[in-house]
């Protein structure tokens, strides 16, 4: 819970979900699933995937989309070309940020948005004298994961 909570605070969310843990993975259940008495034996996935604990909390796509809909979360919006580079694991150069929601400050975390949807998140920092959104997680992880799971 500590890593999840820290992640939510970093991107400016006030979300405080009820969490179901399965190994290192974190989920939250809708009302129907909450009411259901289901077996835990062999269970590997349940309800809405929030993410998993690694060195940092690695958010899942469903959580990112919930956060994208929150007004308070900090966001940077990209065009298609920069968004594609981002989901390929690259950082975002400052000049490729089309719009910012919230104040942009070095050291802060931002959801990275494309066409109204969240494609990952990163931290605004200086790298070799250049200001970038450092890629901390992006949805290209799905394709990379398929090869390594």
């Amino acid at each position: 819970m500590r890593l999840l909570k820290r992640f939510l605070e970093q991107v400016g969310s006030r979300m405080d979900p009820e969490v179901l843990s399965i190994d290192s993975k974190r989920f939250t259940l809708n009302q129907e699933l909450e009411r259901q008495q289901f077996s835990r034996r062999g269970l590997v996935y349940a309800g809405t995937y929030l993410g998993r604990n690694r060195r940092l909390f690695e958010p899942g796509s469903p959580l990112l989309q919930v956060l994208a809909a929150e007004e308070d979360t900090r966001k940077v919006h990209l065009g298609r070309d920069a968004a594609w580079l981002f989901v390929c694991g690259r950082d975002v150069f400052e000049e490729n940020i089309r719009r910012v929601e919230g104040v942009i400050e070095l050291g802060r975390h931002y959801l990275v948005m494309f066409d109204g949807r969240c494609i990952g998140y990163g931290r605004y920092e200086t790298s070799a004298g250049i200001r970038v959104i450092r890629n901390l997680f992006d949805l290209g992880d799905f394709l990379r994961r398929e090869g390594s799971d």
Binding site: L33, L43, Y49, L139
Partner: protein, 306 residues
């Protein structure tokens, strides 16, 4: 003398001509070179057909709607891999062959159902079921292969499924603690040559018989999991009657079930197989023949518990 039997099998009961001769005896002159086009399914949990059509068209992708599918499109032209676009990663669509999409559509799950997807990985049909359910109700997905279960989990995450419970285990022995109004058994099968170019080299009639036995074991488990009046959609991507009509004939003879007619492209289930006469009920099943539907080979049966 097991080795000599194996030799006979490899000479006479495998190979392209052996299987094409079987299909001819079932009334279809196939060449073995038929193809199925790439297809996508719009994920209505996250987007609409109109939105994804507009986006992909603007990127130079040419799509044609498949008339018998609710949200399926054939890809006529694309300048990039549709399995590696931002929209794919966002779960706005999935790559799913057309006959495969028709299976879930035939089961017709809805928000009030408790659904079991028995051999669920890698999850193409599971995510489609969730979309039909509008992410409501309860969707159990089970698979025995841990590696494939990872792919299933990834698919559920990508497509934004929120009503799913995924289990790793053998569905014939797992106690899920509930009964289901609808079950999809997309059974492990011999497959077909449309989606596997090396299929004729790999398969023998013994594989077909072995798979048919596994399928009967799974069908027996379905009966345990279904509630009275509950519906099973049995599907295989095999063209072999042993895995299809003959299994349904066996199910009708051994369990209290009936078949419901399936309407769609393709043909009715076979009621005569290599000289063996089957129940007329079997004609309610449905077959996708590659030469007729221009899809992969597919078999569907809608079974209702009495």
């Amino acid at each position: 003398m097991a080795w000599s039997r194996t030799l006979v099998v490899s000479r006479e009961e495998t190979g392209k001509q052996f299987f094409l001769d079987r299909y001819r005896m079932l009334g279809h002159r196939l060449t073995g070179d038929e193809k199925t086009p790439k297809a996508i399914r719009v994920n209505t949990i996250k987007t609409s057909d109109a939105e994804i059509m507009e986006t992909l068209t603007s990127l130079g992708v040419k799509l044609t709607r498949v008339p018998y599918l609710d949200h399926g499109y054939v890809v006529e032209k694309s300048g990039f891999s549709l399995g590696a676009s931002i929209e794919y990663l966002l779960g706005l669509y999935s790559l799913q062959e057309t006959a495969s999409q028709f299976a879930t559509q035939t089961l017709a799950p809805n928000a009030g159902d408790v659904v079991l997807d028995m051999c669920a990985a890698p999850g193409g049909k599971t995510t489609q079921i969730a979309a039909y359910m509008g992410n409501k109700g309860l969707l159990y997905a089970v698979d025995v292969d841990r590696r494939r279960v990872y792919a299933l989990e990834n698919n559920l995450e990508r497509c934004g499924v929120e009503n799913g419970l995924v289990y790793h285990g053998d569905v014939t022995s797992l106690d899920l603690g509930t009964r289901f109004s609808k079950v999809l058994l997309d059974a492990p099968c011999s497959g077909n040559y449309i989606t596997d170019p090396g299929w004729f080299r790999k398969r023998s009639i013994e594989d077909v018989h072995r798979n048919a036995e596994t399928q009967r074991r799974l069908l027996t488990a379905v009966v345990r999991h279904l509630e009275p009046e509950g519906t099973l959609l049995y599907a295989t991507c095999s063209l072999e009657p042993e895995e299809n009509e003959l299994n349904m004939e066996w199910l009708l003879s051994n369990h209290e079930v009936t078949l419901e007619e399936i309407d769609g492209p393709g043909e009715k289930g076979l009621t005569e197989v290599f000289g063996q006469r089957l129940s007329e009920e079997i004609s309610k099943c449905h077959r996708f023949w590659p030469n007729i539907t221009h899809t992969q080979g597919f078999f569907l049966a809608k079974v209702v518990m009495r």
